[in-house]
Symmetry: C2
Subunit: 234 residues, 2 copies
Amino acid sequence: MTGTLYGIGVGPGDPELITLKALRILQRVPVIAWPAPLEGDSMARGIAAPHITHEPIEIPIRMPLETTQFPDRSVYDVAAQEIGTHLEAGRDVAALCEGDPFFYGSFMYLFGRMAPHFDVTIVPGISSLMAAAAAMKSPLAARNDLLTVVPAPLEETALSEAVTAADSVAIIKVGRHLAKVRRVLQNLDRHADAQYIAYATMAEQTIQPLSEVAAGRAPYFSLILSHKRGAAWR
Amino acid sequence: MTGTLYGIGVGPGDPELITLKALRILQRVPVIAWPAPLEGDSMARGIAAPHITHEPIEIPIRMPLETTQFPDRSVYDVAAQEIGTHLEAGRDVAALCEGDPFFYGSFMYLFGRMAPHFDVTIVPGISSLMAAAAAMKSPLAARNDLLTVVPAPLEETALSEAVTAADSVAIIKVGRHLAKVRRVLQNLDRHADAQYIAYATMAEQTIQPLSEVAAGRAPYFSLILSHKRGAAWR
């Protein structure tokens, strides 16, 4: 019997925002894998830390952030091989994912490599999208709203079209694109009501009107919510 | 001390897809409120049922599905008053919500009435969106994908524009709009790869290629996923 690979959404940051299902699987698998930068801590492993007490085998998937083409596919090839060895030996493996595995998660790179050969089960997680709306006390979408998730790295025209077309937008992966996003929202007269959040549900959580966010680079784990109904919605 | 109103996302259906935080709050509040049809069971109460063992005071919010203007606002006015009485007496109240409270949830009607007067905390839940993608083993969005959530009741042109503009679309609230949605996807040559799911994570869960779904009315709790990259993505 080969093992099962579990893609486990550990939620946005607060360790209490993990599901019972994810917890049950996490606490019994003999092997866990998790993404991390080349140096430093893994956010996903950190979120799961309070729940892992049984000393599983651990497979860090360390990704250099500065490569000619991000992500470095060879890193996933190596991880897939190591995980495959455990699965073939009958050991279940849990791959930890921040938020939800299939919502802009790096888990898809593992999924693409493993799903053709092994049994893979996805355990959905609380995504930063829902966590942000909850923390801001601001409904994401209601009734027949068109809700669009817009990655900030898109170029300015695409961003502008996406914001215009939707009733409600969540702009994710803000990072070094903060100035561009701000310009787009200003040009559409949507800047004054937009709300910014970084590190939703974590100790460092920051919520601000976008108009009060200092210029410069925002964290990668930040997002901006804007609704056509504006601040009245809040 | 007045009590706190908690908007609790109980997840998409599988009782194990509730968070530890939601569970902790659910199991200690003296009062729970939940939405239900005029006759019959509450889905949210059903999902939470295995976790509620302490016999709290229960406030059903029963909504007639056939009214001249849905929802009947007076039902929420009455519920808000009853909940307010408990909060003023210092009792915390948990309002149960299917999926996530702020993702197209009816909780916003209560939120709008209570937030100006009382302390309200939102506990995010696993939405049907993430649950559907996990059950289908189909990533929702990755990299710089534009992801749009499209309510099926929108008129045909709006649906068509939304599907065209996004890389990945989730069409929600399919219900009696199945034929229209199918026509839109056919006209855009996106029908063959679209995937349909009803009752994600529940015992009745059904996953089918949209092309194999029988004509007629789909359940309200069904959704359709379609990605520009098509079936290769799966």
